[in-house]
Amino acid sequence: MPETVFSRPEALQQVTTHYCPGCTHGVIHRLVGEVVDELGLRERTVGIAPVGCSVLAYNYFATDFHEASHGRAPAVATGVKRARPDLIVFAYQGDGDLASIGMAEIMHCANRGEKVTVVFVNNAIYGMTGGQMAPTTMPGQIATTCPLGRDVSLAGWPIRMAELISTLRTPAFVARASVHAPLYTVNAKAMLKRAFQYQVEGTCFSIVEILSTCPTNWGLPPAEATAWLEDNMLPYYPLGVFKTPGGEDRAPLPLGGRIGASHAK
């Protein structure tokens, strides 16, 4: 008898996504789906989709969903959760959405301590609109609105959202993870699971920033994009838990520094 050893999570629809080859949105969707399944939350989960590459997330998750306008997913999540505290509410947002136009909404949602979970996908660029500079774009990184590379004297330095949110006094779970290589991905899932668990227990606001690749807009083949992330983003965006509701704000990095990704160079 054949045995099923690998299948799609029930929290995901049986559909093909529109994401580009080498993009890690699909991996992150799957991790969220697995966590929702493992915690048995599918039938009481409402997701909030952003504006950005994951605007169509509602077509990929097998949970009820709410489309939000650009940057407002944390406000929409607040509305859903306050109206129905029994629901599990997660917002799925990219870096232009969360760290630029939605800066006010994410900070105040976190500061109010809304019992929601935010999955924050940071790929250092605007994907859907065609590769413009994001608040998270790296110094010198070329984008369609900074063709000579990000000039930090004009555009400022990339915003480290996990660090920024972790400065708030309100208890929260704040972590940063990456999915550019398998071991990191295992860790990212563990962070997501903790984030959802805190919500299930009604403990606090939780956010996991996940570093992600965008080969199309970075202009790199997928394998090189993975290496670029490791070389450029990891040093600037350190991984780890930045804040926990118990107060031990900067726990040691769970992975103890860099772990060998498959360098294509």
Partner: protein, 362 residues
Amino acid sequence: MAKKLMKGSEAIGEAAVRANCKLFFGYPITPQNEIPEYMSHRLPQVGGTFVQAESEVAASNMIYGAAGTGERVFTSSSSPGISLMAEGISYLAGSELPVVLVNIMRAGPGLGGILPSQADYFQATKGGGHGDYRLLVLAPWSVQEAADLVQDAFDLADFYRNPVMILGDGLIGQMMEPVEFKENRVPCKPLKPKDWAATGCKGDRPTNIINSLFLDPQVLEYHNQKLKAKYDTMSRDEVRFTEYGTGDDYDLLIVAYGTVARVCSTAIEDLREDGIKAAMVRPISLFPFPYEAVRRAAKKAKAVLVVELSCGQMIEDVQLALEGSRPVHFYGRQGGMLASPEEVAQKAKEVLAGTSQEVRHA
């Protein structure tokens, strides 16, 4: 319940509570702060939730999220705040979600002033946000009517799955008048189960998605036409207005809404004492506008006078209604200045004496 003297703002808040609305999301702005203040102490008493949002932009998106769960939700603001809420309002209309919005209008444009105005008529009835959509817009002229319309607004919002706006002015918010809340009020529309709400997808049912994104133009066109059909139904079934003195003969028909119509009613009394016959049509629903009522009432008049606290906005709907059949004149005050009965009566005399300039489009 016995009559109680209430500020308009408090009556609006209490009416929402009595309509079983347990959720309020808003942001402070003068002159409507008494509404969020009232809700912040009243909602916890009934097991509800009050959230002071970080901005009107956020507030409009919070009510969008809350409405998507099928719970009754409401917000209030004043003109500049409503401009910021235009984003959420467009999404609410596009996603067909029921909410009640209150705009206590203040004078604009820009930061303007904080005194009463009716300069948001266009914004409320013709759009305000982007895209082809309509709000149901109701304009009370007294504190009692504000309380009644707020309760009706929740039923109408649920019935049509559409945002409903209560368009008041600073006077309605600040004024105190006797209010009576009826016990065992019957909804003004039949209420259906909200099986479309995003509340967790149980078993095999397809997921419920609250959404206004339709990338396929054919699908979006179908959606637009479906919305249009709904607005047409509202235009047929939800026209509300009252008439004042139209049972008698009259030479002048006044059209005014909100508290300005109160001023005009006194002006009409004063004019009658001077032997001048005037009557009034007062639109209560601004969308849908009572075109037919204005057209019918104008037939008995020689001329029509529109009075607004703006440079002239509703006058365009009056002119549409009349299709050139009667000369239309305008009297307006702006900037937060109020029209007095004496001023309206004076203008009415000028119209009938032929010394007022008719409003025409070059």
